[in-house]
Structures are given as C-alpha cells and as structure tokens.
Amino acid sequence: MTDFFAMIENTQFSTWLRESNSIWAYPTVLTLHTIGLGLLVGANATLDLRVMGWGQAIALADLRPLFRWMWIGFWINALSGVVLLAADATTKAAAPMFLIKLGLIALGVVVMTLQKREAFAPAAAVTPGARSLAAVALTIWFVAIAAGRLMAYPGLFFGL
C-alpha cells in the first residue's frame, strides 16, 4: 500500500501540484475543497436547523433541493480531496487525523441518506428520530471540519 501511495506521489501531476508556484495548482484545488465544504455542510446545517425547530415557517418538504447542493458539495470535495491526497499521498494516508476524517465523512454520508428518508417521510410533524439525526449530522460534520483542520497540525490533538 505504501508503495502504491509513493507511486501516486511521484507522478508528474502530483509533483506539479506540490511544487508548482502556480496559483492554479495547490491553492486552487484547496479553494475548491473549501467551497465544497461550504456547500455540503452549509446545506446540511440549514436542513438540520429547520428539523431541530428553527424557521418553522419553512415547509420541510420545500427543503428537498438542499440535498442536490449537499451532493454537489460532496462530489467537489471527493474529487478535490483525491487530488490533494495525491500531492502528499504517503504522509496523508498514514496520518491518524486523515483516517478519522474519512471515517467521519463516511458516517456523515450515511446519516445524510437516512435524513432524506426520515425528514421527508409523509408524517406531517418532525419525528424525534429526525430531530436526533439532525443533531448527529451537525455534530459529525463540524467534527469532520475540525479533523480536516487538525491535519495541518500533526500530533497536536492527543498525539493524533
């Protein structure tokens, strides 16, 4: 596996990403990653806030389009994330914080899928289950953001 990551890291593309001074290399991919984060977590947080009881004037069913924005954000970040990983594959793939972040994202996506089913069930009122899911989703995404940020500070958080 390490060999595989080393191979990726040594491709021309990865080297360019890492070493080019061009604003179109690493900085642009990182910006895309931040925009994707804003769309995914922003749209999810808006839904969560409504489900948890704020903005009751909004009919829940009308928030369905938010899922499209969540998925757009998700795919922007899956793609830009793969590119960012390729630039430093050996270091990042071995970083505990990276694995924690990946785990949280996997969990977040599962919860997001459950939310779609739960939030838009025919039941007129928000169920306690949907409310808990919203709180869990918000927590997962905010902790995932923290994990992503802490990747820049290896070892800082309990040695992770």
């Binding site: 604003i23 804003g38 769309l39 999810n44 808006t46 909004i58 938010l66």
Partner: protein, 163 residues
C-alpha cells in the same frame, strides 16, 4: 500607520496568547470554517430565493433562519479579529487580505442597502412568486462577493506569507 498598528497589537496580551498557545490558532481556524458553513448555508439559501430559485418558499420563511447566518458571520468576525490581533503583519502586508476586506465591504453594503430600503417589499414575496430584477441583482452580488471573500481568505497563505 500600518507599522504603528502592528507594533501596538503585537504588544498586547491577547496577541501573545494567540501565537503562544498551541491550541488557539487551530481552534479558531476550525471555528472560522464552521462559521463559514452557517453563513453559506443560510445566506446562500436566501440569495437563491432572491434570484428566484427555491420559489416554493416565501421570502419571509427563508428569512426566518437569518439569525443563524448572522451567528456564523459573528463567529468569523471574532475569530478573524483574533487572527489579526495575533499576527497583524501577515495580513496588512498581504494583498489577498485587502481583496478579502474589499469583498467583505461589498457584501456588507449590499445587505445594508437591501435591508434598509427593500426589506418591506421583500416580505411581500410569497410562495411561488418570482422576484423583481433588482432583487436578483442583489442576490447575485451577495453570492459572488461571499464566495470572493472565501477565495481571498483561502489565498492568504499562498500570496504573501500568512499561515
């Protein structure tokens, strides 16, 4: 002038705390990103409504979540101010920071104009209603300027020397 600001701020207790503590910078960065998501989520949805999208919602309904967008903005204003107090030189000497501030000003003036002159008219926009052209322009200016704020913020470490 900028030299005076730098020396004054860097001499403060708070500035030493920001750069001296191992945890303050990463903590504030994390909060800055969390604030960003609230702002984009809530203000972004309002902007989409102004653009005439998500039309099944009345403007008033979307607007009812605005306190959370403001909360996100306040988180970022506070953490942003802490970054600035911690290392004023890396912002004042960085052209990306000035661009970020300029777009922040545009976004601010845009919302100020909208809330002071158009707020009443906006509340008449019910579910299913299209929005007047002026509202579409305001929504577009808002979305573009907030994403430019994000873009220039992200560019801080790459143009100039900010960390």
């Amino acid at each position: 002038m900028s030299h005076w600001i730098i020396t004054t701020l860097k001499a403060t207790e708070l500035s030493h705390f920001m750069t001296g503590s191992k945890f303050m910078w990463p903590l504030c960065e994390t909060l800055h990103f969390v604030g960003l998501t609230l702002l984009i989520g809530v203000v972004g949805m309002l902007d989409l409504r102004l653009l005439g999208r998500m039309r099944h919602l009345s403007y008033a309904a979307v607007h009812s979540l605005i306190p959370w967008g403001i909360f996100g903005f306040v988180i970022n204003l506070v953490t942003g101010a802490l970054f600035f107090i911690g290392a004023p030189d890396q912002y004042l000497d960085n052209v990306a920071w000035w661009y970020k501030l300029a777009f922040l000003a545009i976004a601010g003036l845009n919302v100020l104009y909208f809330e002071t002159t158009q707020a009443k008219r906006a509340l008449t926009i019910g579910a299913g209603d299209d929005t007047p052209r002026a509202f579409k322009v305001i929504g577009a200016v808002s979305i573009v300027s907030w994403f430019m704020v994000l873009y220039w913020g992200r560019m801080l470490p790459f143009i100039g020397t900010a960390f």
